[in-house]
Homo-oligomer: 137 residues x 2
DNA sequence: GATCAAAACTTGAATAATCAAGCTTTGATC
DNA sequence: GATCAAAGCTTGATTATTCAAGTTTTGATC
């Protein structure tokens, strides 16, 4: 097996484990890792508003997947629908106050868990890892 | 957002993309990336035989997930069941000749794709990436 | 040799995500 | 201003996966 494939399989496996653990630690906030990624994206964006297509792109989900992921999040008022006056096709997703609170709490949990996951790496190595991963096409 | 969390989110996203692309490129062989991981594990193991529990561990799936993943693979004869004479609880999974052929072909495809994914990394960087990921706990 | 907790599954029910098809709206072109 | 391809969704059907519960078998302990 070539080194690149072998390396990618190992990384994929390690990240698979990480994703599942994230799901478990975030479950105390009543959200999945994917939910967290959505909250994260919204919290980061200018007016805490994004279109479903933008969210799909950011989370590696399909438009369909986003529609279905958001349904329960809307039901518990983490996010809410908003119209785009310039384009009626677009259904905007806005972070609510509740959503932001849950995000802030989940952020602390996620950071603690991530710090722990990377405890055997120096700050420089973390940066290096990020740079190397950034080179993947 | 802390650096470790930010880095892990970026890596997770990059690997999410990679996994989906792998699924797409492997679909020409009629298998998913998860199927490939199973074939890979079996091909690598001593007698091309493993228990379901070992496969579950190696693929980050549950025992239940493995049972259901293998059903269609058994149906198209990529793998077959075998008894463990020492322990009747165990249901062994054996790579068939057909399975090995599909694996060899899929391996070429996977390697090409992986080489391409890592084309902007030197051999040393690939190795470095693997070492850094290996430090994640 | 009986008892019993734990291991290695399988199965039913539920959740997560996809794909393909369809709907509405947009923006460009005639 | 009509036409039409493409964008931005939503929905039905399907696949992938999980969890919880149940089954059989094992191995240790009494």
């Amino acid at each position: 097996m070539s080194e690149p494939l072998s390396a990618l399989m190992a990384i994929s496996s390690a990240l698979g484990r990480f994703n599942k653990k994230m799901d478990r630690v975030l479950s105390v906030h009543g959200i999945s890792f994917t939910d967290f990624q959505v909250l994260e994206q919204l919290a980061q964006s200018p007016n805490q508003v994004m279109s479903r297509i933008e969210l799909a792109e950011a989370t590696n989900l399909t438009a369909s997947g986003i529609t279905r992921l958001l349904l329960p999040m809307e039901k518990v008022h983490l996010v809410e629908k908003e119209k785009n006056n310039r384009d009626a096709r677009v259904s905007l997703v806005k972070l609510t106050t509740t959503g932001n609170e849950v995000y802030q709490n989940a952020l602390v949990t996620s950071q603690n868990f991530s710090d722990n996951t990377m405890q055997y790496l120096t700050a420089k190595q973390v940066e290096q890892l990020r740079v190397l991963v950034g080179k993947l096409s």
